[in-house]
Point group: C2
Chain length 354, copies 2
């Protein structure tokens, strides 16, 4: 299996020399793109869009037609696994994902089992395979999942973005129940990412959106430990190529050294940490991905360029940096601002690679 | 002016020897206390309660009757200053504070002026003086304010807890406007805290609830810089006694070294950082206040005791630790759980001070 023609993203993740700093953007196929909104309207809903491999492929490719991005990421959701477990994923407009049947009693938890990726998650694998074919080895394709802990947050709480009182009550009062959920989730995520790799994903990313709500020791016990388990169940190589892994714990800046030692190839950084300080802390153990404040994309091309340059400079010379935002792109981002960012990174980064 | 009979809190903030680790609890006069809810019902609303010095004094003292806490904090709100500027503070049940007239144009910003603390903020000073008299020099009294940046978040956005798109748009597009607000806020906060000290506050705390949404460099420019300005405008001593200062930036764990160098005497820590790691980073430059996850108070006395002990042990030997939560106490906390925490800290901490 050959590397894609543009392999700067994969090379940067593996800290191999690159001619410039590659860039992709979390949620790059999203509501800031008018063509995305048209396809989504045709699909009827976000979930219908995810579940239709043709349409999911279409929107995955849309940002690549507009911008000189260096990677594709399959259009999907971080919560497909608990949905496949029967919890009933749905979306409330403007409020993010929810579950119809959150886990609230021990019997429901004891009955959890990892879904067969080729069963109820078939639609994701089909989208991965179809996107991979459509990319014709021009660009690498990223597969992903929510982390075991982040899945558990939504599974127990029924939603995100709260104070997670139910989840934390379980964590402190009945940790063995939470561990039971996490053990199933870890097996499920490992099987799911393995299946995505088998269907064409050339790098995989764990989105640990809620790990940052934990104490330092609870993060180790309930989030990082299970991500480590997932990472160790992924193949070192597939089809002769190394499949790089990225771990992104939002709000995890305090724990970078530990995440860097988890077995991943790269750390996703949110915007609160200086990427130069992060590099000093993790040295050359892992690559870094990030970390422009998504709010900067709402400003102006000149301001975007200034802040992009500042991040490139803070990271400094050498490979090991994948440019990205520190969180998903806002739906209110003007499309020409994304263009300005991609151009700025590609124009200003080559001197850091000579 | 004598130190209070129980001065462990003040001594710990100044890293003087203490016989045990003192404890107080953020939002200790709050909705988890039935007697608080009765007084609040009599007042009619949270704001009416804040604005009535008799009732504010009553609720300030309530947790001190129940628990062996080592400090009182005047019952008030972090947003009294912008309210006194005419922005119209109000509360939506279960959703936190809002402003009727957020700052949305340059002329409104150019017209901002620091309120005279003895004018529209008189009710706070009266409450401070009345609580201080009621304490009869038994316990120290804490005064406080929102930080200049946190006030600005609410003043611009009209509310908290969002993605702060309006605030960040101003920060990145028209930073001089935000600086204009912050300069006024810094003068206002300094005058307000000085007045609280003159009326009896024996320590003061800056609540920087939203500094953690910023990038590392924006935190310096828009939050920490203005807190430094406030701190430098406070008296080194008042009535012969040092008035210790506490800075609490929620989500500020990455920036502890810089906060510790701001001129404050103590850092407030949220629950995400290990207090032992924090102490290693800031050495003996400042005291540390925190940092139990408030969700732990919803568990059980035995679990609370275990986690309290872990924090005492992580901090280790010597003075310089004020026990507290990492954020305000939840309204759903059983009152006997707070008692268990106070007892655990007082019982388990003496060996760390011999």
């Amino acid at each position: 299996m050959p590397r894609p023609r543009n392999d700067t993203f994969l090379r940067a993740l593996l800290r191999e020399p690159v001619p410039y700093t590659p860039i992709w953007i979390m949620r790059q196929a999203g509501r800031y793109l008018p063509e995305y909104n048209q396809t989504r309207a045709r699909a009827g809903s976000f979930l219908a869009l995810c579940r239709d491999p043709d349409l999911a492929t279409e929107v995955t490719l849309q940002p690549l037609s507009r911008y000189a991005l260096d990677a594709a990421i399959v259009f999907s959701d971080i919560l497909t696994i608990p949905d496949a477990m029967g919890l009933g994923l749905y979306f409330v407009d403007g409020e993010g994902p929810r579950f119809e049947r959150p886990l609230r009693d021990e019997s429901a938890i004891r009955n959890l089992a990892p879904p067969d990726p080729t069963g109820p998650l078939r639609y994701v694998l089909d989208a991965v395979a179809q996107v991979r074919r459509s990319l014709r080895d021009e660009l690498p394709l990223i597969g992903f999942s929510g982390s075991p802990f982040t899945l558990a947050c939504y599974m127990v709480e029924g939603r995100g973005g709260t104070d997670f009182a139910t989840l934390k009550s379980m964590l402190y009062n009945e940790p063995s129940l939470l561990h039971a959920i996490l053990a199933v989730n870890a097996r499920a995520v490992a099987a799911y990412l393995n299946a995505q790799i088998e269907h064409g994903a050339q790098a995989v990313m764990l989105f640990d959106t809620w790990g940052g709500i934990l104490t330092s020791s609870a993060y180790e016990e309930f989030s990082l430990g299970y991500m480590r388990e997932v990472l160790s169940a992924l193949p070192q190589r597939y089809g002769g190529e190394r499949i790089p892994t990225i771990v992104f714990t939002k709000g995890g800046g305090l724990w970078l050294e530990r995440i860097a030692a988890s077995g991943c190839d790269a750390l996703g950084l949110d915007w609160t940490i200086d990427i130069g300080a992060a590099r000093m802390r993790v040295g050359n153990r892992v690559a870094l991905q990030g970390n422009l404040d998504p709010a900067i994309l709402l400003s102006s091309p000149a301001t975007i360029e200034k802040h992009a340059n500042a991040i490139l400079q803070a990271f400094g010379h050498g490979s090991g940096h994948v440019f990205n935002l520190g969180h998903g792109v806002s739906q209110f981002t003007p499309t020409n601002h994304v263009e300005a960012l991609v151009r700025a990174v590609h124009t200003a980064s080559p001197p850091y690679h000579v």
